[in-house]
Amino acid sequence: MAMTTPRACVRTCIAVIVAAVAVLSAAACGKDAAAPPVEDDATRAARLQRLNGLLERQVELASGKDFYLVLDPAQSELALMLSGAELQSYRVTGLQVGTPRVSWIGRKDATPWQNVVWLHGELDPPRELDRLVFQAPPPKKDAAEPEPPPIPPTPEEMYPVPSRYQVRFDEGRSIEVRPLDADQKASRFARFGAWWSAKWHDVVAALFREDRDAVRLRLVLSPKDAASLYRSLPPAVRLIVLTKDRPAEAAPKRPAGAGR
């Protein structure tokens, strides 16, 4: 019987470990290098059908006169558009889909909201313009130089932006916009107040308002973008949600620096 020294034992162990690591690495590399699973024709046809449906709706929106939003989950971007031109774009840092439930039970299935155009989006709370009404003085030939009107407020002063707001569309669809880290700077009491208020409104909406918020997309934007969207969103805006899963060439082209 051959005698083995402890040193030989250690060597053997190291050799075995090295060999095992090499084999596992090779297996992992082989797995990575393997060709992606081939998409069968039926799946490809279904994907193309869906893509074409979305493209048709986008073409329809681009040929209309209404403003519309394009939410692109694949690019994490929300774009305000008109006639195919991107007017402003906003980086979406979080996207979730909310559905109502009562006592932990989903209230009802929302009407289909993907692959359709959402209509008549309006801000809630609305952005209101406090119009100055000026009664002109009776005309005189030698009228004195009129007093200059007061300097109007800046857009930031004119349109205070709520910490959270929604854009409500027809058929119970809505988007909820939340600024990133909205409540981080607020006191604990204020944060609790905001949470309580949001919870209360959600409970009331889920319990009693069947026609509102059947599906709600929650978008997290940077505070600057959230404020900008609130101040700039035109009335009766439309929305289309693109799919994540689509060919790269179908991605919209974005002007550099738009909305940043």
Partner: protein, 257 residues
């Protein structure tokens, strides 16, 4: 712990003063009999606590449930192809349609230079394809309402229109033909001679007319840029207006939102 019912108090020793029963707790209130059930104070508390707990759990689960966004699963609609050949033909047809729609979508987007105006935030952008050439402040309509006090008692609202427009004419050293409201606002009679309406210099060096009396032009009040002060036109600072003028031509698209 044993619970002493109000009616079961011990008899006081002889000679001691008889204590008066507390007025607030009427004797015989607990336990209560409701139908076949006898309810003690403890069981009532437990039941109340259970109801509150259930309500809290129900309330906690009422509202909105948020989940990460996922695409709907794809499903082939319409009649299913009967053979592999038919399926391949369908894929080819859909592929062609997809390319055609993508081309149409790209064709809808503006080509070359175009102007974008954010009227609520008083910003003007000059863009060329994927590049932003200018990002500057401007002044859009104030939204003010002007009411005429005599005559026809007309009313004007100084809003900037929203939508898609085109540069219809380009004017160097524009002369402003003052409309009626400009006289009404200043308390002056409306001139009968059209020549009395013309005013030079107030529109700056250049004006780009885009219809219905609206223009992109210069201003004498550059300190007010960034605020909504105009009567509906877009006022731009001198240097920015020069850059806009240098890049646009008649037909350039203007998008105002």
């Amino acid at each position: 712990m044993a619970e002493t019912e109000p009616g079961a108090a011990a008899t006081p020793p002889a000679g001691a003063a008889i204590p008066t029963p507390p007025a607030a707790a009427p004797a015989g209130r607990w336990p209560r009999r409701i139908g076949p059930f006898i309810i003690t104070r403890r069981s009532a508390w437990i039941a109340a606590a259970a109801v509150v707990l259930l309500a809290a759990v129900a309330w906690g689960g009422t509202g909105y449930r948020y989940r990460p966004y996922v695409d709907e699963p794809v499903r082939l609609s319409g009649p299913a192809p009967r053979s592999d050949r038919e399926l391949k033909q369908l894929v080819s047809r859909l592929d062609r349609r997809s390319r055609e729609l993508t081309t149409r979508l790209k064709a809808a987007a503006p080509r070359g230079v175009y102007i974008v105006i954010d009227q609520t935030q008083n910003r003007i952008y000059l863009r060329k394809d994927a590049e932003t050439l200018l990002d500057a402040t401007c002044s859009a309509g104030s939204g003010m309402v002007l009411k005429e006090s005599v005559g026809k008692k007309r009313e004007w609202v100084f809003d900037t229109p929203r939508g898609r427009f085109e540069v219809l004419s380009m004017l160097r050293d524009p002369v402003w033909a003052k409309p009626d409201w400009a006289f009404v606002e200043d308390g002056l009679p409306i001139p009968t001679n059209p020549a009395d309406r013309f005013e030079s210099g107030s529109l700056g060096e250049y004006a780009l007319y885009f219809g219905n009396g609206y223009m992109i032009h210069g201003t004498l009040y550059e300190r007010l840029l960034g605020r909504a002060v105009s009567h509906g036109c877009i006022r731009v600072g001198r240097e920015d207006l020069r850059k806009v003028w240098a890049n646009v031509r008649i037909g350039t698209r203007i998008y105002i939102y």
